[in-house]
C-alpha cells in the first residue's frame, strides 16, 4: 500500500545545527535566530526539515539550539512537524546553551547518548532539492567497502564565483580521482596576495594515484556520518569547526587517519544561507526556480497560498496592487500587502502585511513582514526587517540592513552597507564578543581593537581603577552613537547604527578582509535561560552523579594546579584556556566548578603575594587579575554565571585573612568589571542576594563601590572627578 522504501527498511537520525555560531547576520540575529529568518517568506529551518522529510528515511530529528533556543522551541512546537502526520516519528529540540561551536554541540549530543546509528548532520540553513537517497546509498557502499570510513560530505558543483557560493568561507577540497575520497581540506586563504597556496603534507598523498583539486564546490554542510564522527569529536575536544578542524584533523592526523568521502551532486540544487551575499543569491535562486520543486508556490507553510504567474511573480491571495504599480520579474508578495500607485518592484521579496506607498522603488531587496515603506522611498539591494518603517523619500543605498522595528525618518539617505538596529544593545557586549572571538580562535591573530582591554597598563588602572566605569572609550562611543543617531535615521526616526566588524560587509564579497572566525551569537544574547540551563546541566550530570562527586574533587586539585602552573610559568592565555577546558571535558564537570577552581588558584596566589609581603594588596590583585581574568571569558557566559562567579570570589575572600579579604574582593571585582566580565546589573543581583549578605564580613569595602555604581547610573557621565576621589580610598 505505502510507497515502498528502499529495498531494506533503513532509517537514519538527523542532527540539525540550528546555530551557526557566527555573527554574520548581526544585528538581526540578535533578535531572531538565523534559522527562523525568512527566505522567500518561509523560515529557513522549514527548508531543512522539508529536505529531511523528502528523503523518507529520516525517523528522528534533533535540533541543536543554543542562541534563542526558546524561540526555536516555540516555533517547532507550533509547526506541522510535531503533528502525528509528520514524516518524522520524533523531533527533539535540544538546548545546548553552552555550546560555542559545532564541536561543542557534537560533544554535547554524544554525551547524551541519543545517537544510535548512522546519522545525517545538516545545518539549519540548508536549501536544497537534492535527493539524499543517492548520497545515502553511496554512504552505504563506502561503509561496506572501506573499513576506515567515517563520513560522506555532500557537495554541489558550481563555479568558484557563483552567487550562492559563499565568498566568506571558501574552501577547496583535494579528492582522489575516481573514488571521491577526500584527501585534504583547505580553507582558502585571502587572495590579496598574502597567501595563495595550499600546503599538502606529501605523506597524505603517499598511496593515492591521481588527485583532483576542486575549488568549484558549494559546501552545503550536509554530512552523512557514522557514530565515529561523534567519538572523534569527543576525543579531540579542541575541535571547533566541522571542516577546518574536524575534517582536516581526521584526514591528516596520524592517530585518526580515517577516510572521508565526498558526494558531488551536479544536477541538484544545494546551498547554505551563511552570509548576506548568499541570502541574496539563494533568495533569487528560489524565485527563479533553480531549486524546483522548492519554489514559493509549494507553500511550505500550511497557511500559505502562493500562486505562480509568468516572469516568476508569486502572489499570495488577498493582496492589493494599485493599477499603476509595476511588478517586474522575480517578485514574491505576501498576503494583505498593499502596493501604491506608481511603485515599482523588481527581484524582491515582500512579506505579509506590508504597506508600500506611492512611487516607491524596491529593487533586489527583501522586505520582511509588517514593514511599512512610505511614498517616494527608494530601496536597493537591502534588507528591511519586520515591522520597520521607512518614511517618505528615504533612499536606502545598497548593502544596508534595517533592523526589526527601526524607523527611518523623512528624507534620510542611508549610505551603503549601513546596519541599523532599534536598540543599542550594549556596544560593550560586542567588544566582549570580539574578545571571546580572539580567544576562541586559537592561533589566529587577534584584531587590534579586541586587545585594547587586555593591554591596559598598570599605571592607568591604578589611577583609574574605579573611574573606568564610564571610561573614555565607552562614553565616547555613546556620544558618537547619539550623534550618529540623528544622522542615520533622521530626527523622527528610531534606531542606532550597528557597527560591524567590517569583515562581512553587506552583500558584496570582501575577500580581502576575510577572516575565519567563530564568534558565537550566544555570547551576545542576554536572555533568561538560566533555569533551563540548570535543568540541563543537572540532567546531563545526574546520570553520573556518583562518579562526578569524586571527579569534581580530582578536578578541583587538577584545575588549581593547572592554573597555578600557568601563572607561575606565565603561559599565554590561549594555552591555559585550552588546558583548563581540556580538563573540564575529560572530567565532565560543570562550569561552576571550573570557575571555582580558577578563582581559588588565582586568589591563593594573590594571598601568597600579600602574605610574603612581596606586593601590596592592590598590586597583587592587579598583577594576577589583569592578566588572568581573561580566563573567565570562556567560563562565564550568562548573567547567572556572572553572579555565580562573584559569589565564588566572595566566598573565597571571606576565607582569607580578614585584614585584607575585603580589599581583595573589591579590587578583584573592579578588574572584572573593567574587563567586562561582570556587568552592573548582575553585580546588583549578586549584592542583593541572600547568600552574599550572609558573608557580611567582606562586604564593607565593596559597599561603597556598589553605592557609587548606583549613583553613577542615576546620574550622567559627567562626574568623573567624584569617582577618582572615591578611588583614592
Amino acid at each position: 500500500m505505502k510507497k515502498v522504501n528502499t529495498n531494506t527498511k533503513l532509517e537514519y537520525q538527523a542532527v540539525v545545527l540550528t546555530d551557526s555560531y557566527q555573527t554574520r547576520f548581526m544585528p538581526l540575529t540578535h533578535v531572531e535566530p538565523r534559522c527562523l529568518m525568512p527566505l522567500a517568506n518561509v523560515p529557513l529551518i522549514e527548508y531543512t526539515l522539508e529536505f529531511l522529510a523528502q528523503t523518507d528515511v529520516v525517523s528522528e530529528v534533533f535540533l541543536m539550539c543554543s542562541s534563542h533556543a526558546d524561540q526555536i522551541q516555540k516555533y517547532i512546537d507550533q509547526s506541522k512537524w510535531v503533528l502525528p502526520s509528520s514524516p518524522f516519528s520524533k523531533i527533539h529540540t535540544l538546548l545546548t546553551v553552552e555550546s560555542r561551536s559545532v564541536g561543542d554541540a557534537m560533544r554535547d549530543i554524544d554525551a547524551r547518548g541519543m545517537i544510535t546509528g548512522d546519522f545525517i548532520l545538516v545545518s539549519g540553513d540548508v536549501i536544497t532539492n537534492m535527493d539524499l537517497n543517492k548520497a545515502l546509498s553511496a554512504h552505504r557502499q563506502h561503509k561496506q567497502d572501506d573499513r576506515d570510513y567515517v563520513s560522506t560530505m555532500v557537495l554541489k558543483q558550481a563555479s568558484p564565483l557563483h552567487r550562492s557560493r559563499s565568498y566568506v568561507e571558501p574552501a577547496c577540497f583535494i579528492l582522489e580521482e575516481g573514488t571521491n575520497r577526500c584527501i585534504y581540506y583547505q580553507d582558502i586563504p585571502p587572495v590579496n596576495g598574502r597567501k595563495t597556496s595550499v600546503d599538502i603534507d606529501p605523506e597524505l598523498l603517499g598511496d593515492v594515484g591521481e588527485i583532483v583539486l576542486k575549488n568549484d564546490l558549494i559546501d552545503c554542510r550536509v554530512d552523512i556520518c557514522t557514530p565515529q564522527v561523534l567519538s572523534t569529536f569527543q576525543e579531540n575536544f579542541d575541535y571547533q569547526f566541522l571542516r577546518a578542524d574536524w575534517v582536516k584533523g581526521v584526514l591528516s592526523s596520524d592517530l585518526l587517519r580515517k577516510h572521508v568521502y565526498t558526494y558531488i551532486t551536479k544536477d541538484d540544487y544545494a546551498a547554505r544561507v551563511e552570509s548576506w551575499q548568499t541570502y541574496d543569491g539563494i533568495s533569487q535562486d528560489v524565485l527563479e526556480r533553480w531549486c524546483y520543486p522548492i519554489v514559493p508556490e509549494r507553500n511550505l507553510l500550511e497557511d500559505q497560498t502562493y500562486t505562480y504567474e509568468s516572469q516568476h511573480v508569486y502572489k499570495e491571495s488577498d493582496i492589493r496592487l494599485s493599477q499603476s504599480c509595476k511588478i517586474d520579474s522575480c517578485v514574491e508578495i505576501g498576503s494583505r500587502t498593499f502596493v501604491g500607485d506608481g511603485s515599482r518592484i523588481g527581484s524582491s521579496v515582500i512579506g505579509r502585511d506590508c504597506y508600500i506607498g506611492k512611487n516607491v522603488i524596491i529593487d533586489n531587496s527583501y522586505i520582511w513582514k509588517g514593514a511599512r515603506v512610505e511614498d517616494g522611498a527608494v530601496i536597493r539591494h537591502s534588507i528591511v526587517a519586520s515591522d520597520a518603517v521607512i518614511k517618505e523619500n528615504v533612499i536606502i543605498n545598497p548593502g544596508s540592513v534595517i533592523g526589526f522595528g527601526v524607523v527611518i525618518g523623512k528624507d534620510v539617505v542611508i549610505p551603503n552597507y549601513t546596519k541599523i538596529t532599534k536598540n543599542l544593545f550594549k556596544e560593550k557586549k560586542r567588544i566582549k564578543e570580539e574578545h571571546s572571538d580572539a580567544t576562541s580562535d586559537f592561533g589566529n591573530e587577534t584584531e587590534g581593537s579586541s586587545s585594547q582591554f587586555t593591554t591596559t597598563t598598570d599605571e592607568e588602572s591604578t589611577s583609574a581603577a574605579t573611574s573606568e566605569i564610564p571610561s573614555e572609550s565607552d562614553s565616547g562611543e555613546e556620544n558618537t552613537n547619539n550623534t550618529t543617531r540623528e544622522n542615520i535615521v533622521g530626527s523622527d526616526g528610531v534606531g542606532f547604527l550597528y557597527e560591524d566588524d567590517e569583515r562581512y560587509n553587506g552583500m558584496v564579497s570582501q575577500m580581502a578582509s576575510l577572516e575565519l572566525s567563530d564568534v558565537s551569537i550566544p555570547s551576545s544574547t542576554i536572555t533568561r535561560r538560566s533555569t533551563k540551563r540548570k535543568k540541563r546541566t543537572m540532567s546531563s550530570t545526574a546520570s553520573q552523579a556518583a562518579a562526578s562527586e569524586e571527579e569534581s574533587e580530582d578536578f578541583e586539585q587538577e584545575a588549581i594546579a593547572t592554573v597555578n602552573r600557568a601563572m607561575e610559568n606565565n603561559y599565554d592565555i590561549d594555552t591555559s584556556l585550552l588546558e583548563v577546558n581540556t580538563l573540564r571535558m575529560s572530567m565532565n564537570v560543570t562550569y561552576h566548578e571550573v570557575r571555582d577552581a580558577t578563582c581559588k588558584a588565582m586568589l591563593s596566589r594573590v594571598d601568597h603575594f600579600i602574605e610574603t609581603q612581596t606586593l601590596g594588596v592592590k598590586e597583587a590583585v592587579e598583577k594576577i587579575f589583569q592578566k588572568w581574568s581573561e580566563l573567565f571569558t570562556r567560563q562565564v557566559f550568562e548573567d547567572a554565571d556572572q553572579v555565580d562567579l562573584m559569589m565564588i570570589i566572595q566566598q573565597i575572600c571571606s576565607g582569607l585573612d580578614p585584614k585584607y579579604g575585603s580589599m581583595i574582593l573589591l579590587y578583584a571585582l573592579l578588574i572584572l568589571y573593567e574587563q567586562e566580565i561582570i556587568e552592573e546589573d548582575n553585580i546588583n543581583i549578586w549584592w542583593n542576594s541572600e547568600d552574599s549578605k550572609a558573608l557580611n564580613r567582606v562586604r564593607d569595602k565593596t559597599a561603597k563601590w556598589i553605592e557609587w555604581l548606583a549613583q553613577a547610573e542615576s546620574e550622567s557621565e559627567g562626574e568623573n572627578e567624584n569617582e577618582s576621589d572615591e578611588s583614592e580610598e
Binding site: 558550481a158 563555479s159 552567487r163 535562486d285 526556480r289 533553480w290 507553500n299 516572469q311 516568476h312
Partner: protein, 365 residues
C-alpha cells in the same frame, strides 16, 4: 470516536503531504494512490448518512486540490466516487417513492453503453436488492466495491486503450509522438507492433523529457519497431512524411482540450498545417469536468536548472530562465481521443464527463 477521527486526520494529512512533496507523481500513480487512500478513508471513517460522507470527501478534495492543483487525476477519482454515492442516493429515493425505474437520460448510454457504466448499474442493482435489509453498511460496501472497480479500471487502462490499435494504425505508417514520457502512448505502440509494422519518430522534448525519450526509444527499438529520435526543432520539417501524430494527455478538460508535455502544442500546430491527424490517448481517469478558463494556472513551470546548468555563474541571475513543463492543447488541434472506453471526438468529451461526474462536484469548495 475521537481516536478514529484522529486516525483519519493522520491519513489525510500524510496523503496530502505526499502529494505536496511529489512523492506521488504522474496521473497514473496519483489516480491509483488516491483510490487506495479513499479505500482506507471509506473503511476507517465514521458517518451516519451518505450526505455526511459526501461532505467528508469534498473537504478532502478541497485540500488535495489546494496541495497540488495540477494533479487532476486525484480530483477526478474523488469525483467518480462522489458520483457513485450520489447515484446510490438518488436510486434509493427514486425506488422509495415508487418502484419506477430511473429514466435513462443519457442519449449516449442508449447507443453505446460504456463498460464501467454497466458496472455501476450493476452495483446499483445489487444495492437495490439488498437495500431493504441494511442501509448504511450497505452503502459503505457499495462504495468500497465501487472503488475496487475503479482500481481495476485504472489498472487495465493500457490494455483497454491498446485494443483499438488495429483500427487506428496502418501498416508501413510513419507515426510521430511528441510525448516520449507517456506510458500510455508507449504501451499503445508496443501493442500495435504485434500486428502492424510501422516507423515511430520520437521527439527529444528537451529538456524535461530527454531521459524518458531515450528510455522509450530503447523500449520501442527492442520491440523491433523502427524508431527515430528527432530534435524538437525538426518537427515541422518531418511533418510532411508523418501519417499520424500520437500524443499522450496528462489531463483532459470538458471542452476537449488537454494538458500535456510542453512542446506538444507546437507539434499539433505543425500537424494542423499539414492536415495530419492528431490522436490523443488518455485513460478515463484523466478526464476532468473542469473547463480550462485560466490557462496560465494549468501550466506548471519547472526547474530552470534543466534549461541552463546552474553552475554557469556567468549567466545565472543575469538572464531570465523559464522552463514550462506543460502545454495546453486546444480542442481544435485534436482529431480523436482514444480512451479505454472507446474513441471520441473532442466535441463529445463534455458528454463523457457528464456521464461520469455529477455537476455538483465539479467544484469542491
Amino acid at each position: 470516536m475521537s481516536s478514529s477521527e484522529h486516525k483519519l486526520d493522520i491519513l489525510v494529512d500524510s496523503f496530502v503531504n505526499k502529494l505536496k512533496r511529489r512523492q506521488i507523481t504522474g496521473s497514473y500513480q496519483v489516480a491509483h494512490e488516491t483510490c487506495q487512500f479513499l479505500m482506507r478513508v471509506t473503511s476507517s471513517s465514521r458517518w451516519q448518512s451518505p450526505e455526511e460522507f459526501i461532505a467528508l470527501i469534498r473537504s478532502i478534495g478541497q485540500r488535495i486540490v489546494k496541495a497540488q492543483p495540477r494533479e487532476f487525476a486525484a480530483g477526478n477519482v474523488l469525483r467518480r466516487v462522489l458520483a457513485l454515492v450520489r447515484d446510490e442516493i438518488s436510486d434509493r429515493s427514486a425506488s422509495a417513492s415508487a418502484d419506477n425505474a430511473p429514466v435513462n437520460t443519457a442519449m449516449f448510454r442508449l447507443l453505446v453503453p460504456p463498460p464501467d457504466k454497466q458496472e455501476q448499474e450493476n452495483n446499483a442493482q445489487q444495492g437495490q436488492n439488498t437495500r431493504k435489509i441494511e442501509r448504511k453498511d450497505d452503502l459503505r460496501s457499495i462504495v468500497i466495491q465501487g472503488i475496487r472497480d475503479l482500481i481495476d479500471e485504472i489498472a487495465s487502462v493500457h490494455e483497454n486503450i491498446a485494443q483499438m490499435t488495429v483500427e487506428m494504425i496502418h501498416d508501413n505508417e510513419v507515426l510521430l509522438t511528441p510525448t516520449p514520457g507517456s506510458e500510455t502512448v508507449l504501451n499503445f505502440l508496443l501493442k500495435a507492433s504485434l500486428k502492424r509494422k510501422f516507423t515511430v519518430l520520437i521527439t527529444e522534448n528537451y529538456p524535461n523529457d530527454i531521459k524518458l525519450c531515450h528510455k522509450a526509444a530503447k523500449k520501442l527499438a527492442e520491440a523491433n519497431i523502427e524508431t527515430v529520435i528527432i530534435p524538437d526543432s525538426t518537427i515541422y520539417a518531418v511533418m510532411s512524411r508523418v501519417g499520424k501524430v500520437l500524443i499522450g494527455a496528462r489531463a483532459v478538460f470538458a471542452n476537449g482540450g488537454c494538458v500535456t508535455a510542453s512542446g506538444v502544442a507546437t507539434a499539433c500546430e505543425c500537424a494542423k498545417e499539414y492536415r495530419t491527424p492528431v490522436f490523443a490517448v488518455a485513460g478515463l481517469y484523466k478526464f476532468s469536468p473542469n473547463y480550462p478558463f485560466d490557462r496560465d494556472t494549468l501550466i506548471e513551470v519547472g526547474n530552470s536548472g534543466k534549461v541552463l546548468p546552474y553552475k554557469d555563474s556567468d549567466l545565472v541571475g543575469k538572464c531570465e530562465v523559464t522552463n514550462p513543463v506543460l502545454d495546453y492543447v486546444p480542442p481544435e488541434f485534436i482529431d480523436i481521443y482514444i480512451t479505454n472506453i472507446g474513441g471520441f471526438s473532442p466535441n463529445f468529451i463534455y458528454r463523457i464527463v457528464l456521464d461520469n461526474y455529477r455537476t455538483d462536484d465539479v467544484d469542491f469548495s
